[in-house]
Amino acid sequence: MSEKTKIFKFYDTIVLLSPTGQKASNLKEFLNILEQSEDKVIFHHLYQSHIKYYLKVGEFPNDFANWAAYDLEDMALAEKLANFDPYDFKTVAQVKEKLIEIIEEHMWDLPTIPWVRSGSEFCFSSATSIVLPLGINTSTLKEFKKALNIIPDSSLYFHFCEARKIKKEKEHDDFSLWIENNFGKKELVRKIREIDFYFFSLEEIRKKLIDILEDEL
């Protein structure tokens, strides 16, 4: 361990969902509510899919796209919303602006406003996260790999997914940042950053990370 190596402290996050009570039964209503929604609502529906229990791998990567596909049955809109990457933007406010633009443009070309059947309304929600230290600290890559086997899914989610957006200046996940800052290891960092977590479950992300580290060590 080099003198300047900083310890990696694992944190855990417990997320409790908080519905706003607002529901949209057609695309116009959806857009209106979206325009008035707080950032935390947009954040939840676009970024926190991985932590929600009903996520099925292979589906669209965010709540808005899933609703457009399966309830509104507007596949073109679902595709646009799925391919839109909220991580390309610095702030949630910018994300919201872009999102509204996509929906407005899409609606412009529609002959009628699409509705959902009763019971399939989009239910807006936000979430509260409690972040607490897990009590697992590592200072070498070997220890780090070992820790990856024992941390809960929620900790993996926090460091690999949510952490990218909690601090605005951050562009990458906590793991690759720690490795880059303390060990260099450009190739290892590149492989970790190449994991497109939109398309994998937390279980699969964990396995990928461990495999990459195993190759390295």
Partner: protein
């Protein structure tokens, strides 16, 4: 009774450690749960396990039930049904009586605590009659109130709005309310008599007791005898299946002390099934957990053809036993079952019959769906996840208006 450590083999050490860390944040906090019965129904079942486990984790949690006679529970059953959308025009004098029972109970009970959690509508108005102090009051609504009867909702909303927060099982049930609402799905206890593994002998004993032969495929619905569970619809679906496949149907259900309607519906169902020796109607007394467990494990296909449902824990129990379940596309069943992934959702008698036929013809698919179902429940609907959500809620209530709380 199982202690926390007993769950390690099922959910893993990391999940138990998470609970312990989270519990430290609210150690010693006094929490009182109030509902209307200790006997029968999903809420009582959950509290029987949740309360001792919260205490084991260092939370001072007590459970109290509002007293009431049959008259009171007749009214609250109507309130329950109206909240689920049935138009009943409950008379004002009955609503007055409902408030009176709550008022009397509030005068005789000690609810001084850090957090009071009121379950369902029966004790909802207590908040009006109990002196306000620093206690956080939370209304935990287990039922489907997405389309309540408007008159009744206007009447109850006054009381709902007095709370500091509400909890719903799924986001569709959330309302426009002046305070935070949270989502906490209910759960089952994998180690209870209703869900633990049973020996072959235990299962056979139950089938012998009820004179059920395993000589043809068994279709099962376990639920209270309640219109919203559509037992008559299940019989009709069975009759459609029976035209194609020789099978039998078991309708097994109990009743709860706060549900006076059960016996009447039971008679109706019994009448409808007359003359068919392949229909078994079992009226189960409370504490029939091993019987339910054995029936679920013996069934070839399990139905929960509800037309309204808060969550549908009986679906969860069946999924836990690796069964392919066919559920009505309503309420909390929709966040448990996904077509072709871990079961089926249906919207009609014909739909239920079609899926039963499919599963009876395709035991290979049925087995795969059952395996996925168990995995899904293990991850999302066991008591340990429920404990986690409650512990999170206790801490969040102490830190309002924050999206991220660094502990």
């Amino acid at each position: 009774m199982a202690i926390l450590k007993d769950y390690e083999d099922i959910v893993g050490k990391k999940n138990l450690n998470q609970l312990k860390s989270l519990a430290l944040l609210s150690k010693g906090k006094k929490v009182i749960m109030v509902n209307s019965t200790k006997d029968g129904g999903g809420v009582a079942e959950i509290l029987h396990r949740l309360v001792p486990l919260l205490n084991e984790l260092g939370i001072n949690c007590q459970w109290k039930t509002i007293y009431g006679n049959n008259g009171f529970f007749n009214i609250t059953k109507d309130i329950h049904n109206s909240l689920q959308g049935k138009k009943l025009d409950i008379k004002n004098e009955l609503l007055e009586k409902y408030l009176k029972v709550n008022k009397e109970y509030a005068q005789n009970v000690n609810l001084d605590a850090d957090i009071v959690i009121i379950h369902d509508p029966q004790p909802l108005p207590l908040i009006k009659y109990y002196p306000r102090n620093n206690t956080k009051w939370v209304w935990r609504c287990h039922i489907d109130i997405s389309k309540p009867d408007l008159f009744l909702w206007k009447f109850l909303k006054k009381y709902v709005e007095m709370y500091d927060a509400s909890i719903f099982s799924i986001s569709k049930f959330a309302k426009s309310l002046p305070y935070p609402q949270y989502l906490i799905a209910p759960s089952i206890d994998p180690l209870s008599n209703k869900n633990r593994d049973l020996s072959k002998n235990e299962i056979e004993n139950v089938l012998d007791t009820y004179r059920i032969k395993k000589d043809k495929p068994i279709i099962l619905q376990v639920s209270r005898f309640d219109k919203f569970k559509d037992p008559l619809g299940v019989i009709k679906a069975y009759r459609l299946v029976k035209k194609e496949i020789n099978c039998k149907l078991i309708l097994a259900g109990g009743t709860a002390s706060d549900d006076p309607e059960g016996e009447e519906i039971f008679k109706e169902v019994k009448n409808e099934s007359k003359g068919d020796p392949d229909i078994h109607i079992l009226f189960l007394k409370s504490k029939s957990d091993i019987v339910i467990n054995a029936l679920q494990r013996s069934a070839d296909v399990i139905i929960q053809k509800s037309i309204k449902e808060g969550f549908g824990l009986v679906v969860t129990e069946s999924m836990w036993k690796e069964k392919a379940v066919i559920g009505g596309e309503v309420g909390g069943i929709t966040i448990q079952l996904y077509n072709h992934l871990n079961g089926f959702l249906v919207n009609s008698i014909e739909g239920a019959a079609f899926r039963v036929r499919y599963l009876l013809n395709r035991p290979d698919v049925s087995e795969d769906l059952g395996k996925q179902a168990k995995k899904f429940v293990t991850k999302n609907f066991l008591i340990t996840r429920h404990l986690r959500d409650y512990l999170a809620l206790f801490y969040i209530l102490e830190n309002p208006n924050k999206n991220i709380i660094y502990a």
